[in-house]
């Protein structure tokens, strides 16, 4: 009898367990609604951006079209856009160098030296602020007039005296007639500087680069990165080196803005390059956003550039004062730069305005080479050879 009780008890409990094992159960799922579909899905323009990456923001005043991109490309490579006809945008932004120029400080069309190193034009549509050290320049439409009309320093050297002559050159070029009319349909006289700026901004907005060994690694290609680069990647994203705090995100810079973001986080950092007076001073002409804000704590603060294609854009820093990637890594490992002689002597490691993320860390020679290998894995060979971005006049 007791055996029967035992069996029936066990059977009852087992039956309950089986019954309960079937409920409650629903299939897991995740639904995502990104609004009007333009954040990721809109690919009516050839962005050269993977489908699962968010698109950059385009100003409502300058909708992006292929026609504007093509016009902008012609203008970008055209020396006739400079006052004296000697330089184009492409003179300091060379495709093979990820649209940087390989020199420490560039010379403008009149021979004047620029105090800043030429920036690479890589994914600039995402930039939260556009140039090295100006938080007020936030769109490519604001930036484009600066090299054209800027006087301090002179770059392309267009001014009131020669701007009509410059426009006359474009009106005289048969290819431009169609390019301008297609880019700005309905306008009776589309060849003007407003449209030139819109077209250059549109070309810049299309200069996107996301086809690197690192991207392929992230997409699941286990052979895309060397073992050295993988070790370097881990170091890069480690709290020990702190690199990713300033160079994080899909664009390897915190100064990045896309359509998924509510607002742009404009960030500028002092990385301990200089300390002329022991109180943080930087060389005149290269003082960062201090030149705009006048705040002492902003002395030496610059926007962290993207690291995409960084191996192609030597020399480095806002003034091109570090020659190689290896030296850059050593600079950060030392927590700044100590210049012992010359007009810029001073210990940048002790700069009071230096970012807290720039602090000394130990790095073996192998680790240093690993980090360089990782940085080299951010090179997009397709970007620097893609005919879509190449000189249309050749």
């Amino acid at each position: 009898m007791s055996y029967l009780v035992n069996v029936s008890s066990a059977a009852l409990l087992l039956g309950c367990a089986i019954l309960l094992a079937g409920c409650p159960q629903k299939d897991s799922r995740t639904t995502i609604n990104t609004g009007d579909g333009t954040t990721f899905a809109s690919r009516d323009f050839n962005w050269n951006i993977p489908a699962d990456y968010p698109l950059p923001v385009v100003p409502i005043s300058n909708p992006l079209t292929e026609e504007k991109f093509q016009l902008g490309k012609h203008l970008f490579y055209d020396r006739r856009l400079s006052g004296n006809g000697t330089q184009a945008c492409a003179s300091c932004h060379i495709q093979a160098l990820a649209f940087s120029d390989g020199v420490t400080l560039p010379l403008g069309s009149t021979g004047e030296m620029h105090p800043r190193h030429s920036q690479a034009l890589v994914n600039i549509a995402y930039n939260a602020s556009v140039n090295w050290g100006n938080p007020t320049t936030v769109t490519l439409e604001q930036q484009a007039p600066i090299p054209i009309f800027g006087e301090f320093p002179v770059e392309l050297g267009v001014n009131d005296d020669n701007k009509e002559a410059v426009l006359a050159r474009f009106r005289a070029e048969p290819r431009y007639t169609g390019l301008f009319s297609r880019a700005f349909p309905g306008e009776t006289d589309p060849i003007n500087f407003d449209n030139i700026i819109r077209a250059l901004a549109s070309f810049g907005r299309g200069l996107n680069s996301f086809n690197t060994p690192f991207d392929r690694h992230e997409a699941g290609d286990t052979t895309a990165l060397s073992s050295s680069a993988i070790r370097g990647m881990r170091l890069f994203f480690d709290e020990k080196t702190e690199c990713f705090h300033c160079h994080g995100g899909l664009n390897f810079t915190q100064s990045s803005f896309d359509r998924t973001q509510l607002f742009a986080e404009m960030v500028f950092f002092n990385n301990g390059l200089y300390n002329l007076d022991g109180r943080g001073r930087y060389p005149e002409g290269g003082e960062g956003i201090y030149e705009i804000t006048g705040k002492p704590e902003d002395m030496g603060r610059f926007r962290p550039p993207t690291l995409r294609n960084i191996a192609l854009t030597a020399p480095y820093m806002h003034d091109g004062s570090i020659a190689t990637l290896e030296e850059v890594v050593r600079h950060y490992a030392a927590g700044g730069r100590n210049i012992t002689t010359g007009p810029n002597a001073g210990d940048g490691r002790l700069n009071p305005n230096k970012s807290s993320f720039v602090r000394p860390f130990d790095l073996t020679e192998q680790e240093l080479q690993d980090m360089v290998a990782f940085l080299e894995s951010l090179t997009d060979d397709d970007f620097v050879t893609n005919p879509r971005f190449a000189n249309p006049w050749e």
């Binding site: 007791s2 055996y3 009780v5 035992n6 008890s9 066990a10 009852l12 409990l13 087992l14 309950c16 367990a17 019954l19 309960l20 094992a21 409920c23 409650p24 159960q25 629903k26 299939d27 897991s28 799922r29 995740t30 639904t31 995502i32 609604n33 990104t34 609004g35 954040t39 990721f40 699962d52 968010p54 881990r234 170091l235 994203f237 480690d238 709290e239 020990k240 990713f244 994080g248 803005f257 359509r259 998924t260 973001q261 509510l262 607002f263 742009a264 986080e265």
Partner: protein, 399 residues
Amino acid sequence: MLRTVTSFALLAAPLAVFAHTDAHKHTPEPTTTTEVGAAASMTWHSQGAADSDGLWRIPGVMMGGHALPVEKGGKLDDAILWGSHRLGERTTVSAKAGVHNDGSTSIELENLTLDYQPNTRKPVTLSAGLLEPAFTPSAHHHPSTAIFAESTLLADAFWGRSIHDTGVRVTGKPTPNTEVGIEVWNGDFFPASSGEGAQDIYAKFNHERAGWDVSGGAWVMQATAKQRSDDRYFDADHSHTPSGVTLTDVQFSGDTRMAGTWFALSAPETHGIKAGLHYEAAQAQSSGTLADTTRQASYESDHLAYAVTPNVAWRNVKLSYRLEKLSLENDLSGNGAQVLADAANLITTANPKRETVQVNWQLHKKVGARLAYTKDKTLAESDNRVSVGLVWQDTLYKK
């Protein structure tokens, strides 16, 4: 709200005839003035539960609290010391301190409670201090006092394994076999955030008849969070991942409503054989926003979890099987939805599942051993594991 009520009814259905013993409370018996006890557990695992990056983030659910993965190799799971002392006829103070394998190595005060029983017609207890919740036994997991070394997926996913928080509790016993209670918390536990608060109401009962022992309960909880991070891996704005992988700190702000039911049933013992069954199910619904430093998205979730554990004991050996499942529904909307869903690891179509077969062997009055095989499908790629452990429990002082 309607969904909650409907789901709660579904969850509570199996409870119709069941109810509980409160094995986790360390309050002295009426005749005991002072009692001190201790327990410890250590386990060796053939594999860890974490992903290759060292993280244990179940796809589809935001986690937090103390829900850290088991690690490969041998480790002390926990070591706890508790005590209680009757201060007077109506007042008792109790405390518990311990070390857990949850990333910290320091001794933590987990419980310091003052209980007061006023002179009422029906028994009422007022408790205040650093409390362990009473709404369900699985709200606080100690490997050294539990059948399984690993807590339930339900507890890990829904309240970060264990709750210890400052709060007050009022309990009443309308009948000798039933208890109702209400607990109000400061919110220092997942899924709440500190200062935002949480509240729960519960009812439970136990009954013995003809050798059958049934206990069970039902509860509802509401928790509020403001900018809640996954505090297992984030401290301020820094990520602390074992392999150096960078995580985006996606923070949740909003409300989480939970409801659950549980029961334990044991059959009469015959010829030294005793069968039992434990069941627990819960639903958690969150509503609020997810945000990182510059992005935001609306977030709604509806998660279900349950664990069924039949067992059979013979003499000093107990064989248990535990089946656990989660179903996770998430809805995100807004421009930042895709990026935040990726960063918070919320994209999934899988139902996480874990099965454990375990043998407990009481080697000695104070020492037990356990051998478990766990088939773990909580992550996309999970390793099954064998676990071997020892548990020690003792009453050090009793007067």
